[in-house]
Amino acid sequence: MCGITGIYRVKSGEPVSKQELIPMTEALRHRGPDEYGYYINGNLGLGHSRLSIIDLSGGSQPVYNEDKSICVVFNGEIFNYIELRELLQTKGHRFYTSGDTETIVHAYEEFGADFVDHLNGQFAIALWDVKKRELILTRDRVGILPLYYSLLNDGTIIFASEMKGILASGLIHPEIDFAGVNQVFSLWVNIPPRTVFKGINELAPGKMLTISESGIKERRYWGYIFPGINEYEDKPLSYYTSRLEELIYDSVKLRLRADVTVASYLSGGLDSSIVSALVKKHHNRDLVTFSVGFSDEAFDERAWQMEMVNHIGTDHRMVNADYDSISASFSEVIFHAEKPMIRSAPAPLFILSRLVRENGIKVVLTGEGADEFFGGYNIFKEDMIRRFWARNPESVKRPKLLSALYPYVSRSGRGNAFWNSFFGKGLTDTGNPHYSHSIRWGNTSQVKRFFNDGLLDEGYDAASELEEYLSQDIMKWHPLCRAQYLEASLFLPGYLLSSQGDRMLMANSVEGRFPFLDHRVIEFAATIPPEYKIRGLNEKYILKKIYGGILPESISSRPKQPYRAPIARSFIDRDTIASSMFDGDTIRRYGYFNPESVELLLNKYRKNNGTSTGERNDMAIAGIVSMQLLHHHFIEKRSL
């Protein structure tokens, strides 16, 4: 992977200099430490920092077409570049490199702006058409690779793979957008194009910007589509298992294309176990796998990881995450993530990618996406159970099924009445398009109470921005698809693939590849009837049907364990930058949070010996420390 940057003074016509691009591009050096490349064409300049993975010696960027009338800088991988190159050669295009980047310029020549429909990959692309003096910015379908842009008052557009690249230009002053912060503390993520910085926009996944002297056009070239609730084809399970198996096999095969070693993450869960088992079985008998273990047993999955390692036989490396290492790394985590978060789980993945890099590996496969597209999350099952209960809201028996999902419901001293009230909120509002997520979002919003009064603009309502961003067809879909769509549109790109994905990988110059995120897999998964995704409360049923035979029973029948990391014990009263963010002076100086409320919260944990005092309080601890660190890096220290 790489980093890309650029400036286009589209209205003023003033020239762009390489000197302007250098600090922007060098701010992304972690994304591509191997080489820098620049391109200047009058009032347009492009920058590129390269991590060499395909065509190691000849893959420098920018890359051009035959007469240099088209120029591209690109972050990512076009996995079908071999097939696409063959297709384009039959149409008369001549290639001067053997890498994947060049397929983009020739595909653009051949197909125009629809070139993106022909790409199977993960990408953020800046393409310059010299003759039209038109800049195209686009991003992959699901949001694996990031791309941000700012529009200045004089009509200049600047862009970069990470916001720090834009800030390094000095053309944008770092200032917090509290509506953006409000979104994170409600929905866990931002709704593109909004970010937590004023004036910096995120290009949404599946979208393309076209910038020329005639203006800026934005279009969605790809989006999630599910069948109508009664429009599923009447086909047997065997049809779906057979086709899906073919697609996943091909997706894995394409994602092993590289001129460097491709390793695999192995979390101990179903999805990365499937990916690793497939690679080992079909492609690489010397597979190297990586995992993270936790000193805190409540989060540790090493027993399952080792079971898989022994079952398929891999060369396995593990790093241990404890409270100290999570705490010590969290400052860097937020520097790379560039947004607050209500979890600490990215930190162990930052530590893990460091281990990968130390082992000389540049590329890893992971299991991301299977939970979204095959029904792996508890929030999907919670939605099912609440709808089951809502069919007879007076039932005293139906809500008891929640204890199958959340054992704490029956174990908790709070009693059934408390949990029935918690999960019963809005119970019969099943026509709400966000029904599946309304409890989560409402619960997260409680964390906003820790902010100083008036700061987050209590009149701000994310709902209207959300409605504008999301598909208008959502209510035509099955309830499971609605919930899947919310996860795939919001949490997947806004947190999992960014704060917990790309940013934690690229922080150590490691590229992630995600076989379940091949758009052919996603599009086919959308056509699979919901009962084959979650059967009863059996999640990812179809994956278990296909891959049960190559996995140990203990892995394929294991209930999903959400990937989490310890929060309070990692951050309270430790000798780290993260922990120092709770100092009363710092809290007061930064001015975001109410010092008394923060102190009360900390004391609550101290009295409880650091153990969790509830989900909301855990979210508050992570939210406070990460928001403070965001200020520390980008407002106070400006560590670019």
């Binding site: 099912m384 007076e394 099924l401 409360l537 059996n538």
Partner: protein, 87 residues
């Protein structure tokens, strides 16, 4: 009398039990007249999971008053009960 064959319903339920409950998976045979609760194949929460699956599958709603052993505790009883609900 419902529209789905009793044998088909019986197979559907047995497959569901085997795929969703570890205790059922380890049994060589699940007898259709054996108490699901007494045999330990399923617990009361498991019954609810099965009911949720059947409601979604056949688009029916089962009342609290119908959630009683004579309707649900054996596969035979379940099949008869579902037939009486028009399945």
């Amino acid at each position: 009398m419902g529209s789905v064959q009793s044998a088909t319903l019986t197979d559907l339920i047995i497959t569901f039990l085997r795929e969703n409950f570890i205790a059922a998976r380890s049994l060589k045979e699940i007898k259709t007249d054996e108490s699901l609760l007494d045999s330990g194949i399923i617990d009361s929460t498991g019954i609810l999971e099965l009911i949720m699956f059947l409601e979604d599958k056949f688009n029916i709603t089962i009342e609290d008053e119908e959630l009683m052993p004579e309707n649900l505790d054996t596969i035979q009883n379940l099949v008869s009960f579902l037939s009486s609900k028009g399945v």
